[in-house]
């Protein structure tokens, strides 16, 4: 068992035990106990007098609703988020809720407008539609630079209530005025100018030299330290850098159209309406995210080289591969010196689980001479070819993870001592 698996296992065990017995979530349960109300004792005569009275007197004990304590953790929520001017809902005691995942249970307040409520739980199917929770448009859309703090929208969606919206993003520069984020393809400069491209049909040979668009560097009025809360680094509503699950089949064109349509349809009436260009930009960004490419023609792999996407192979799947290879690794004919050599062999795999023979190569060795390493490499190479002839037992859906494999053949443990 490797170190990573061991650390992960210990960490999980500690975490689960802590969660189960640490009392993390016991507070809300404890707060429900005060449902007990005080009861005063009265005499029989007093009770008879009360029963005989045609008009019921005022109860000596308040209703439970009055005495029921409100969870201090929940209490601030309506005060902070709900705009009393817009939200006419009475301050009804809210049931104690474990904040984020209780969103669907929140009673819908009387809404001034039929705002389309997003799905409480995102569908597992890749939904290019703006994600319900992490896309509070008023917050992450910094386009209205003049407004340091955006106006809270008349949306009382619980998801929005818990969003730390009025927080400036951390930027690396301080300026007297808040500067908008430059376009992604613009060079940072003090002067704002648009991109200039040569005019092809012009009669003059060359009138203008190509120049890249420039804009002042993004700045804020104060330094906003990074907090534990994850704040989106990219201030745009379009998930330009969001990596979508690649394993799911997608139709980029259709998705883009659907995304554009959804973005348009879900825009609240009183929100700043998105222009057609913005919609197209969002759709294009979504399409790029789906295809894994960027504007500069690169790919995600270019920014994070050699980083396969998708879930990694489990320990069992790795063990299956290891057992399959070692069953064909015959060291019986290795020389004594070759038995002291640890050789690393790289191989590219085909999607059917078979090795690409032409790709098998030795990438390094430890111990022994080069001649001994050569023999050790041949033994390892034979193992890969022989046992890989029928395909190794590897999950096809994780092909990106095992497309390239480096196998270390270390016979030191088998060496006779």
């Amino acid at each position: 068992m490797n170190t990573g698996t061991t650390i992960s296992g210990i960490g999980h065990a500690i975490l689960i035990l802590w969660l189960m017995f640490g009392g993390l979530f016991s507070a809300p349960e404890d707060t429900a106990v005060p449902a007990v109300t005080e009861v005063s004792l009265i005499t029989g005569a007093e009770f008879a007098a009360l029963s005989a009275s045609p008009i019921a007197p005022e109860p000596q004990v308040d209703a439970p609703a009055v005495t029921e304590p409100v969870d201090p953790a929940v209490e601030p929520q309506p005060d902070v988020v709900t705009d009393p001017a817009v939200d006419p809902a009475p301050q009804v005691p809210v049931e104690p809720q474990p904040a984020p995942d209780a969103q669907p249970e929140a009673q819908p307040d009387p809404q001034p407008a039929p705002v389309p409520v997003p799905e409480p739980v995102p569908e597992p199917v890749p939904e290019p539609v703006p994600e319900p929770v992490p896309e509070p448009q008023p917050v992450v859309e910094p386009v209205p630079v003049v407004e340091p703090v955006p106006e809270p929208q008349p949306v009382t969606d619980p998801a929005l209530q818990s969003s730390p919206l009025p927080r400036q993003r951390p930027v690396p520069r301080i300026a007297p005025e808040v500067a908008a984020a430059p376009p992604p393809d613009a060079q940072v400069a003090d002067i704002v100018q648009d991109a200039v491209t040569p005019d092809a049909p012009a009669d003059a040979p060359v009138v203008e030299a190509p120049a890249e668009a420039t804009a002042p560097a993004e700045a804020a009025t104060e330094i906003v330290p990074e907090t534990a809360d994850p704040v989106p680094e990219v201030a745009t509503s379009a998930p330009v850098t969001s990596a979508r699950p690649k394993a799911r089949p997608a139709k980029p064109a259709a998705v883009a159209v659907a995304a554009a349509a959804a973005a348009t349809a879900e825009a609240p009436a009183d929100q700043p309406s998105q222009t057609a260009e913005q919609t197209d930009a969002i759709a294009a960004a979504l399409a790029e995210a789906q295809s894994g490419t960027t504007d500069d023609g690169g790919s995600d792999a270019a920014t994070t080289p050699q980083a396969p996407s998708g879930p990694p192979l489990t320990a069992g799947e790795k063990d299956g591969l290891r057992v399959a290879v070692q069953s064909c690794w015959n060291v019986g004919a290795l020389s004594s010196e070759a038995m002291t050599v640890s050789v690393t062999i790289a191989v590219s795999m085909l999607q059917d689980g078979k090795p690409d023979r032409a790709s098998i190569r030795m990438v390094g060795f430890e111990g022994g001479t080069e001649a001994a390493a050569s023999k050790a490499y041949e033994a390892g190479r034979r193992a890969i070819i022989i046992c890989g002839d029928k395909g190794f037992p590897l999950p096809p859906e994780k092909y990106e993870q095992w497309k390239n494999i480096e196998m270390v053949f270390d016979p030191k443990g088998m060496r006779l001592k």
Binding site: L19, G332, A333, E406, K417
Partner: protein, 440 residues
Amino acid sequence: MILLKSIAVAAVLALLTPAVFAQTGPLKITITEGVIEPLKLAIPDFVPESGGADQLARDIAAVVTADLESSGLFARISPDAYISRLTSFDAPVAYADWKAINAVGLITGAVSVSGDTISVKFRLFDIFSGQQLGEGLQFGGTKSTWRRMAHKVADAAYSRITGEGGYFDSRVVFVSESGPKNQRAKRLALMDYDGANVQYLTDSSAIVLAPRFSPTGDRVLYTSYESGFPRIYLLDVASVSRRALEEQPGTMTFAPRFAPDGRTVVFSLERGGNTDIYTTDTGTGALQQLTNAPSIETGPSYSPDGSRIVFESDRSGTQQIYIMSAGGGEPTRISFGDGRYSTPVWSPRGDLIAFTKQGAGQFHIGVMRADGKEERLLTTSFLDEGPTWAPNGRVIMFTRETAGAGGSARLYSVDITGRVLHPVPTETAASDPAWSPLLP
């Protein structure tokens, strides 16, 4: 409710955690366990390229097969399973056919006869890489040397596959025994490593013991009782002529062995009831005493570089193994196990020392590192003794004697893993083997 929440949170974290340990490059696995079994070779009969070469072609292929299989590292696939038939030495190799029968390697050869001379060609192919392994080789000689040519083919194949030298084209000098156990006649004999081509070097008029080859294989040292006392003789193999090496009245000399330089001989000399180790120069006869102790020091053997000598001594009360400088000096004990250690022999590769160990009523052939560590016992029997190393340092030949009045001595070989143990066929009972270097 708390439990459910906790499980839910734990499940979410469990899903997120792998991302922390996600691989950032090629998938990496480490294989530390493999299998140890013979490599499967296809060795079709060699192709006769001239008239009268048919039988020779089959015989040579058979010797090559026997050599490789005797090493324990290779196994020949039965010819009945062959799909391709080799009809020409230069015909292209149908790799798919050989791969289909799981052959790792293919040895092809051809034999041609011209008068009393023969020519043997061979090629070795790596089936899974689909290419020839090394260049083809051709050997020429007389008909009487066909076995040597077969051994050379086997050596070449062995060396190319394993990466270490072969040992098939070598000889063994040994003591041939005949007669009842209490009156046994002993003769010095020479044979191929596989027991073929036996040649007697002495008659049985005197007891002979412990023959040892020179580093070049052209001379043999041995101990004879023909004078009534043990004495060392030097024998020239080609002329079968001999002479006494060291003659000092009132002494006994025995357990000789050549130094790597081929001129110096180290041996034991008994004088006045005490035995010490000496060296002598075969050219000048200069004598040098290396040990001076009241105990018995004997069985010396040089390290391959000639800088040290390993020997046995009972100075501690029991026979143990010691190492000292080739020029003498204070020895260092390297054996500390239970039992008695004797007949140490340094490996030609210098990494191991073979020895005989006696303990608990059993004899063993074992090996240990030169520092005495990693001792391993390779054999166990009523009487195993007298190890000698093959030229490549991977195989050990020794004497195994059976119990009882009718018991006899035979030669056995075992590889340093202890897995490949088999008797060496000899016409008579045999003991005291000494392996020659590879023949030129």
